[in-house]
């Protein structure tokens, strides 16, 4: 069962008869059923999201829809202030990804291109930081954020608490370790002769970094950027702990605004949830290879 068998099977139809053993049929049935079960929760949300509240109120949730409309999406878009929260998400996510990749590649470059005594301790210092449960740091960090003053143009409360910078900082600090680990493994595979040649030519450390190593890391960077986008976009904890203003919360943590205390419209929530899911699903659909290679780069090498 090698990869080479795939094109052969496609080219010569006769070969295709081989897999049709009873075991294979059973397997296909199992996989198809599991796939349907797997898609069902999302499919159910999609179905509900197109039904107006009046339709489900009249016919019940488990019924054929008599009217389908986009009204839930329109309401979620305005009531949930989705554009605003998407914007908040971007303010946090984009600078965070840029900083994470920059910091991680700097550290990875140092530990993979030079042989300092501190290489291993430094790498452990970064890796382990990413493996801690988040709750380990939130209590002191919360108290700290309440005491760090920021100038008014950075935070309208004048504090690190409830500021975008505070959220960016904690995301950067938490995620840099993972990327450092992946990138340092990646940079180890780049032949050292490349930078040695540059060194002989008198290229400075920064030239070697920006001119030679960084461009070669593009595939790994793309994979990590995809992964980090999804992770930071999906963050809930940091935002609810360090951001108190509802209108500054990134999209994932703002969803709670839609669940009213005494009235909950599930169809509206379905639509909002799906709107929030769209960016991560689009990123995954377009960059599936990068996404999975980023995930397995981290796991495989370690």
């Amino acid at each position: 069962m090698t990869a080479a068998a795939v094109p052969r099977a496609a080219a010569v139809p006769v070969v295709r008869r081989k897999p049709l053993r009873p075991g294979r049929v059973g397997l296909h049935v199992f996989l198809a059923v599991t796939a349907i079960v797997w898609l069902f929760p999302v499919g159910w949300a999609v179905y509900n999201s197109f039904r107006p509240y009046s339709d489900t109120a009249k016919y019940g949730y488990v019924s054929f829809a008599h009217t389908l409309s986009l009204s839930n999406y329109r309401n979620a878009w305005t009531q949930g202030q989705i554009p605003l929260h998407f914007w908040d998400t971007m303010i946090v996510t984009i600078p965070a990804i840029v900083l994470i990749l920059f910091f991680a590649s700097c550290v990875a470059f140092v530990v993979s291109r030079f042989s300092f005594w501190f290489n291993v301790p430094l790498l452990v210092f970064f890796m382990a930081a990413n493996l801690l449960p988040q709750q380990v740091i939130i209590t002191p960090l919360y108290e700290l954020y309440l005491r760090i003053p920021l100038p008014g143009w950075l935070s309208d409360t004048g504090l690190m608490y409830d500021s975008f910078l505070g959220l960016i900082a904690v995301n950067v600090a938490f995620q840099t370790g993972f990327c450092t680990f992946v990138l340092s493994n990646y940079m180890k595979t780049i032949p050292s002769s490349l930078s040695e040649a540059a060194r002989v030519d008198g290229a400075s450390v920064t030239r070697q970094f920006f001119g030679i190593v960084l461009p070669l890391c593009k595939p790994a960077m793309a994979a990590l950027a995809t992964l980090e986008f999804t992770w930071i976009y999906n963050d809930f904890l940091w935002a609810i702990v360090f951001m108190s203003s509802g209108d500054k919360r990134p999209i994932t943590s703002s969803l709670q605004n839609l669940t009213g205390t005494y009235f909950t419209d599930n169809n509206l929530i379905s639509a909002a949830a799906l709107l929030v899911a769209v960016p991560t699903i689009v990123v995954f659909a377009l960059l599936q290879r990068q996404f999975i290679s980023g995930l397995t780069l981290g796991a495989n090498k370690g």
């Binding site: 488990v62 740091i137 969803l255 999975i292």
Partner: protein
């Protein structure tokens, strides 16, 4: 920290002199900044708070005023969370069940999917995408999506198996004996896909002859898997165990959205958070529970770090 690094660079630079690598002052400065600034960021925002959690757990600081006004009270916080803090032991139990479910149900299922999809199956890419879909969704979204199924009045389960219109409901999330399992089904839905992708990568990296042995359908298949394939997956197995333990310790978002982690859904992570943003704000309790999390997580962290350095060397 920056000073330590700077001396390190100088020392390292001198030692490397043998390899005829002479670092100029500018290069040394560049290296110091490249390693130093990220170190300060991670040290300041991760390691400093981690150490502070440990220290605060031994004090009676209430979060108001300066830390210096608080007193060292030894292990009082730990004694109190173990004896007079009702949600503590339920939370420990729920975290243990969470870990048990991921380890013995969701992870094996993910491995099973990966093993089947690694066979030369038609449509394998489609299946992989389907099973992986929940992994790109946040736990927050998963909570909302599954509430559509579990909600007592509007949920699917209740509407199919009971009659909410006439006051007869099934409230899976409201029942403290059932809600943890209902949540774990949703969590397993995501975890299995994650594990599947990691194992698929591990299986692809195996020696093709091993995979051929594994590809035998039927009678000898289980035996071949158990004796040949699974042992060969050892490196990835270690990663999977670490990922699973850490996921179980981090679990938070989904129960927080469902009912703020109360009434049968208490978790250690929720108790720490509740002591900051909840009604009961006791820095000492929150920190001691954080230390419990640190102590448990040290084991998988050490295993992971040691394992990855062994891999790096080879």
């Amino acid at each position: 920290m920056a000073i330590d690094l700077a001396t390190g660079v100088r020392k390292g630079g001198a030692r490397r002199g043998a390899r005829a690598v002479r670092l100029s002052t500018r290069d040394k400065l560049a290296i110091t900044l490249m390693a130093g600034i990220p170190t300060l960021v991670v040290g300041g925002f991760i390691w400093f708070p981690t150490i502070a959690s440990v220290l605060l757990s031994f004090t009676n600081w209430d979060g108001i005023g300066s830390v210096t006004s608080s007193h060292w009270i030894g292990t009082t916080n730990y004694r109190q969370i173990a004896t007079i803090y009702p949600p503590f032991w339920p939370a420990v139990e729920h975290n243990a069940i969470w870990l048990g479910f991921l380890t013995f149900v969701a992870t094996p299922f993910g491995l099973f999917l990966a093993y089947q999809l690694d066979k030369d199956i038609r449509g394998t890419r489609v299946y992989q995408s389907v099973f992986f879909l929940p992994v790109v969704l946040s736990f927050a979204l998963i909570a909302f999506i599954w509430q559509l199924i579990y909600s007592p009045t509007e949920g699917l389960v209740s509407n199919v198996f009971a009659d909410p219109a006439h006051g007869h409901v099934i409230d899976l999330l409201g029942n403290p004996h059932q809600n943890l399992w209902a949540v774990l089904v949703a969590v397993g839905w995501r975890h299995a896909g994650y594990i599947m992708v990691l194992y698929l990568a591990g299986l692809k990296a195996l020696d093709p002859s091993l995979r051929e042995a594994a590809a035998i359908d039927g009678a000898g298949e289980w035996h071949a898997f158990r004796t040949v394939v699974f042992p060969a997956l050892r490196p990835i197995n270690i990663v999977i165990v670490v990922v699973t333990v850490i996921e179980a310790l981090r679990a938070f978002d989904i129960v927080y959205i469902i009912n703020h982690g109360t009434n049968g859904l208490e978790l250690l992570s929720v108790l720490v958070t509740a002591n900051i943003i909840g009604e009961a704000s006791r820095v000492g309790y929150g920190s001691s529970i954080a230390v419990v999390l640190i102590v448990i997580s040290i084991i998988p962290i050490v295993v992971f770090v040691v394992n990855s350095f062994k891999e790096r060397e080879s």
